[in-house]
Symmetry: C3
Subunit: 438 residues, 3 copies
Amino acid sequence: GLNSSEVDKLYQDDAVWIITSSFIIFTMHSGFGLLESGSVSAKDEVNIMVKNVVDVVFGGIAYWSFGYGLSYGNDWYPNSFVGMGKFFYDPARQNLATVNEEGWAYASFLFQMSLATTASTIVSGAVAERAKLKSYILLGCLVILVQALPAHWVWDKNGFFFKMGVVDFAGCSAVHMVGGIIGLVATIYLKPRRNRFNEDSVHQMSSPTNALLGTFLLWWGWFGINAGSVWGITEGRWRLGGRAAVATIMSSIGGGATSIVISFVRTKKLQVNFLINGILSSIVSITALCAVSRPWHALIIGSVSSAFSIAVLPVLDRFKVDDPVGIVPIHLTSSIWGMFAVGIFAEEDKHLMATGGQYGLLYGGGFKLMGIQMLCAATILVYSAVCGFLILVLISKSPLGLRVTDYEEQIGADVIEHGLAGTNIARYLVEKPLSTKT
Amino acid sequence: GLNSSEVDKLYQDDAVWIITSSFIIFTMHSGFGLLESGSVSAKDEVNIMVKNVVDVVFGGIAYWSFGYGLSYGNDWYPNSFVGMGKFFYDPARQNLATVNEEGWAYASFLFQMSLATTASTIVSGAVAERAKLKSYILLGCLVILVQALPAHWVWDKNGFFFKMGVVDFAGCSAVHMVGGIIGLVATIYLKPRRNRFNEDSVHQMSSPTNALLGTFLLWWGWFGINAGSVWGITEGRWRLGGRAAVATIMSSIGGGATSIVISFVRTKKLQVNFLINGILSSIVSITALCAVSRPWHALIIGSVSSAFSIAVLPVLDRFKVDDPVGIVPIHLTSSIWGMFAVGIFAEEDKHLMATGGQYGLLYGGGFKLMGIQMLCAATILVYSAVCGFLILVLISKSPLGLRVTDYEEQIGADVIEHGLAGTNIARYLVEKPLSTKT
Amino acid sequence: GLNSSEVDKLYQDDAVWIITSSFIIFTMHSGFGLLESGSVSAKDEVNIMVKNVVDVVFGGIAYWSFGYGLSYGNDWYPNSFVGMGKFFYDPARQNLATVNEEGWAYASFLFQMSLATTASTIVSGAVAERAKLKSYILLGCLVILVQALPAHWVWDKNGFFFKMGVVDFAGCSAVHMVGGIIGLVATIYLKPRRNRFNEDSVHQMSSPTNALLGTFLLWWGWFGINAGSVWGITEGRWRLGGRAAVATIMSSIGGGATSIVISFVRTKKLQVNFLINGILSSIVSITALCAVSRPWHALIIGSVSSAFSIAVLPVLDRFKVDDPVGIVPIHLTSSIWGMFAVGIFAEEDKHLMATGGQYGLLYGGGFKLMGIQMLCAATILVYSAVCGFLILVLISKSPLGLRVTDYEEQIGADVIEHGLAGTNIARYLVEKPLSTKT
């Protein structure tokens, strides 16, 4: 057995890893904010940044008060479906046996909160330029609570997909699929931005430079999610963290290269939105398998995800689904493919039980793991879509309402919601006559 | 006793923590720069970024040559008031007994420098759009030296507040209060920007998007200050680091939510400056107590700080104090409240002596700790205000002068100090007719 | 001897250091992107951001498939000139003896890739506004392969400069000198931008604010390179990491201060490009010696490098070399001086063999180390210049071509390559009449 100072040391080293990973993950809000504000029209640029702030603020309150408990509170009636307990979380109230456990409780909460607040952020992009700010605040809080259950199912030791052996290291299903499908439902429910599908409409990014900078920030921030999701470094888990980081960069370069090639072949130009979708969707697709992925697995998984992210765009256009910042390609098609890819490429670590001893098709594991992955994906998709729809109906029927008026949409949320007039408005006026059809 | 390889390990783990925390803290200069450049008028946007560079450059030289020694140099005549020694710092010259101690000296110096250079940055915002660049350089260097003494009083083992048992983990008094009060004195001394309080003046941010991005960057950077300020991870100190990080995010979400609610109630809109002040002031307010704060302590402390940050704005307007980037709400009211709040909420850690065994009012500690906190705050406020005033008089009476001419202010520092003409000027011309009264 | 759990612990601690350093280094691409996009004309702002994405994407693929093997693959015919093996790298294929070694292989690859992709990024700045995007992609991949050999010579245990005892901790010669000289050759070969040296030309940065923000991001990212390059923290190496970090900040403040003083003396204003060149060139110059540099060494080395970075500007103008984002001052003059400075200031660590027991002129080591440093620099300069030239000839003679047409250059790459029309074009039109001569 380990003596107490050795135990102290294990707690220390693992906690420091997840604390610092949380720090990195929180920086992704800067990335989401810039990506979204750079992708929308100039008249809504500030509003969407504010919505990203709101995701942390009210999302954080929702998570602390109820979300964390719904995911990981096993204090009363532990069960496979929902956590109960740890509401309005205060580790000191838990009467944990040792100071190590209490410290670990703080670290775990921080890490989980950093992940959860990114889920509601995804939805902010889907409803951009059309959702009222107050309604969005309520929507974001409710998304946090919706997301809490899949997190329980997939990651909590009592969760039913966890017990089945589903493999999702870093939130492919429990974060991106939830956010992606709710985003899709929301943007369909809200209907397109005005004139979005008119014959002479233009698709104008307010700042491609900012959108690319946001992409960069998300790219590096994702190391925190993927490497942090091995939950520590001791007993050889640092190896999985290193592999997750290599898989992250390998999938992104596969996805980036694929999107560039497709863009040149199909349009003769390098479309900035193809590139952004390609890179970010590929990173999402590797989140499920990252810790046990070989470099070439990640390269293929990312490349395929990138191809899907571009293939889905004409489908969205065909059905007049307006997806202002690419929620569907970046988070939805990629997360479905990412869960599926585990069923193909999963390979157990040489030393640690990282996939519960399960292998994918390619390594002789048969279809069992694939079945579990697909069952998990289907369940989460249906559950999240239904919850999302109910929430949207609820908010739109409430006195708050959901969608801004036509007049407000034309003027823009920066003026309407924040009283800002000035440079952005100036740029919006200038950009309209200069814009070309796409 | 520990054998030498165990001692090596303790040094290693603690030093790595403060080195990496320093890396994070330095990134805050990006945040300060963007927040300030996004908040001022477009004609001074570049100039304020340059001033933030200057804060690191000349502030760093001032700190290396004298500041660090005045804070922590106890080589000659150790005393409670001021450090002497370690000037033009070179650990190799100190003849430290072991290589561990020498390595630790490098790590400590790096961490302290990263903190100290943020103090002078605070003042850069207060004098925005009005101070001459050369004069500002001198001012920044002198602020570093002024700040060195409170750091000695509060954090050095010989400092008199340290000996009294003052609780300030991460610079509430020794950094933010110093910067905030000097900033207030400076902006009063410099007088408002031209037309700032005219009837038809407008308050125009050059880029709310950049200001919000800067806020994001500061938010994540603060994890480095608050978690780093526990000075290591061994012997259970990682637990305090984790608690500090949770307290940081909890105070910020309390502060953010409060400012949003107040803004909606009072103005029907979400004012971007209310939001920025609310979030950043709440993080400042938790710096004193962070390492031993419970989540709900932090939530309350941040919320109250945010309310103060909004309440002070009409007071500043009433007395025609022009505070271009919100130095008073973000750093001054919050740091006074933060020091006070320790007297209410302080609770000793279960295992380590983190508050010297002291408790606040709420935990039966009586008024003793409160008294120490308030004495420390009062002393630092008076000392810093007096020093700041003397420095401002000195510079403005010197051949350098302090305030730019009326003509220079109208043209803007970007042209006058940096010879830049172009996009920013274009935007400035465009934004004027479009601006509305606030 | 160490028991196996002690060995595990050493691997763990060192691997975590280089993994997290890699995370920091990757963030530098955000910095390079912003610095370059802020420095060029508004009509090419997005294009240069895309090129920085491409550097990671295709540079990453080139590095994974061949670059890493050419640098560190000693599987077949180990020799001093070039690595062979580890192509299309997959650590699992290597049949490493222990899981520790396999994990370490992932961590090492990640770190080396993060460094290598910055080398091709340097060239992107040199060819800004003139190179075709597809040609640039090919160029970037080939630069990665060119850079692989110097990395083998300087850092691989079989490399001939490594065996000679050359001191280059963090890529002064093997990264910056390679990128800098190829950049110089490329910009001469491509010829200046149109009207760049006409009598009435203007030098217009699209966004000085973004260029300064990029500088900030690079500044903090460099801690990852310089401190990460000590390859771990165990056995006292953390001390070298701490020293490297202090040296990084000390050299930058020396360089920044020097450039500010020179700028004021020579032009009465603070030129933004002097400041950026001064800071970044000084950090490059300390990369060679960082881990064993004293603070005052770094201050002097950075100051001298900054002076060179400004002195070279009129020389470039004199010979009509158009260097859009300052590749020559930032990466070339500084890296030559940095390698030279090792010969003066090198001093062995008190405990570890960090410089192979060698001392510079100042510490009684004579001219031997200086000779090795200069031989290494000269070899790398000649080799890289020749390779760079051949690659440029090859690409420009190929069907791809290299330089955009005069018409395309006038319209700008944002429209031509990415189909973007809008705000940036608007700004470009506005900025032209407002621009002044410099």
